[in-house]
C-alpha cells in the first residue's frame, strides 16, 4: 500500500511495546494517540514495569502523534511509582508538537527529554539511579 499509508486509518491502533536494553532499565515505546482512551493502558504498563523491578524507565514517544493532559497524567503516574530521584523516567520526544504540550504545562521541568532513544540511554547507569 506504499504511499497510501498516509491515510487516517493508521494511527488508530494504540500499542505499547516493552524492551529491556540492560538490567533495571525498561524502554516503553508508545504508538498511537495518547488521550483519555489510551492513557490508563500506558499508566498501568509503567506501574507494572516498576513493580517487576525497573529502576529507570525510558518512554519513547517517537510513534505518538498526539498527547493531551490524560497522557501527561499517565506519565506522572509512572514517575510517582518510581519514587523520588531525578531523571529516573526519561522521555524520547522528537516531535516539536508533542514537546510543546510538556512546555505548556511546565512538565518539561519534570521529565528530561531527548530526541532519540540512543541519547536517552546514554544518560547514566542503573547504579547512580539515572538511566
Amino acid at each position: 500500500m506504499r504511499d497510501l499509508e498516509s491515510s487516517a486509518i493508521d494511527v488508530t491502533d494504540f500499542r505499547v511495546e516493552e524492551d529491556q536494553p540492560r538490567a533495571g532499565v525498561v524502554v516503553v515505546s508508545v504508538h498511537g494517540d495518547l488521550d483519555l482512551y489510551s492513557a490508563d493502558e500506558l499508566g498501568d504498563r509503567l506501574v507494572d514495569a516498576v513493580e517487576r523491578g525497573a529502576a529507570s524507565l525510558v518512554v519513547d514517544l517517537s510513534g505518538v502523534a498526539f498527547v493531551d493532559s490524560q497522557g501527561l497524567g499517565a506519565l506522572l503516574r509512572g514517575t510517582r511509582r518510581l519514587g523520588a530521584g531525578e531523571g529516573r523516567l526519561r522521555l524520547v520526544v522528537p516531535a516539536p508538537e508533542i514537546r510543546r504540550v510538556f512546555e505548556i504545562t511546565s512538565l518539561d521541568q519534570v521529565f528530561p527529554m531527548d530526541d532519540t532513544r540512543e541519547q536517552a540511554l546514554a544518560h547514566g547507569t542503573p547504579e547512580n539511579g539515572l538511566i
Partner: protein, 147 residues
C-alpha cells in the same frame, strides 16, 4: 468558507475523541492553519471534549457532545457543548498536578480566547474557544518595505 460551519454530534465516550480531532483537523487544514496551529486545535478540542466525558455525565449514563466549528475570515471558533451536570463557575484556578486541573490551563495556553458558560436552555456547559489565523498576515504586513 467564511461564515460556514461544521457540526458534529457524537457520544461522550473516550473512543470518539479521535473523531473530534479528525474533524477539527479536516476543517483547520482547509483554513490553512499551519502544522503547529493544527496541533493546538486538536489539543484544545480534545481537552474540552475529554472534560465532558469525564465530568459532564454520570459514569455509564449515555450523553452526547456537540462540537461546532465556525469558520470566519480571521479565525476558527470551536464550541463544545454538553447537556450534563454543568460546571461550577467561576472555575477555580488550581495548580495543575497529577490529580488534575491541567485541562483548562492547556486550553488557555493554545487558543486565543476561552469562554465557559452554562447552556442557555437546560443543564449543561458551553466551552467557546477562538483560534486566530491572523498571525501570518501580520508578519507579511511587517515584511512590506516602507519606502
Amino acid at each position: 468558507m467564511n461564515g460556514e460551519a461544521v457540526r458534529l454530534r457524537f457520544p461522550a465516550r473516550p473512543e470518539y475523541l479521535r473523531l473530534a480531532r479528525l474533524a477539527v483537523t479536516g476543517v483547520g487544514e482547509r483554513m490553512s492553519f499551519g502544522r503547529s496551529d493544527l496541533a493546538d486545535l486538536k489539543l484544545a478540542v480534545t481537552e474540552a471534549c475529554s472534560n465532558t466525558v469525564r465530568h459532564a455525565y454520570a459514569p455509564g449514563a449515555p450523553g452526547e457532545i456537540d462540537l461546532e466549528l465556525r469558520i470566519e475570515d480571521d479565525r476558527l471558533e470551536l464550541v463544545v457543548e454538553d447537556r450534563g451536570v454543568g460546571i461550577e463557575l467561576p472555575v477555580r484556578e488550581v495548580e495543575p498536578s497529577v490529580e488534575g486541573g491541567m485541562g483548562l490551563s492547556i486550553i488557555r495556553a493554545v487558543v486565543d480566547e476561552l469562554e465557559i458558560n452554562p447552556r442557555a436552555e437546560g443543564a449543561g456547559t458551553v466551552v467557546h474557544m477562538t483560534k486566530r489565523t491572523a498571525a501570518r498576515d501580520g508578519v507579511q504586513a511587517c515584511a512590506e518595505p516602507e519606502v
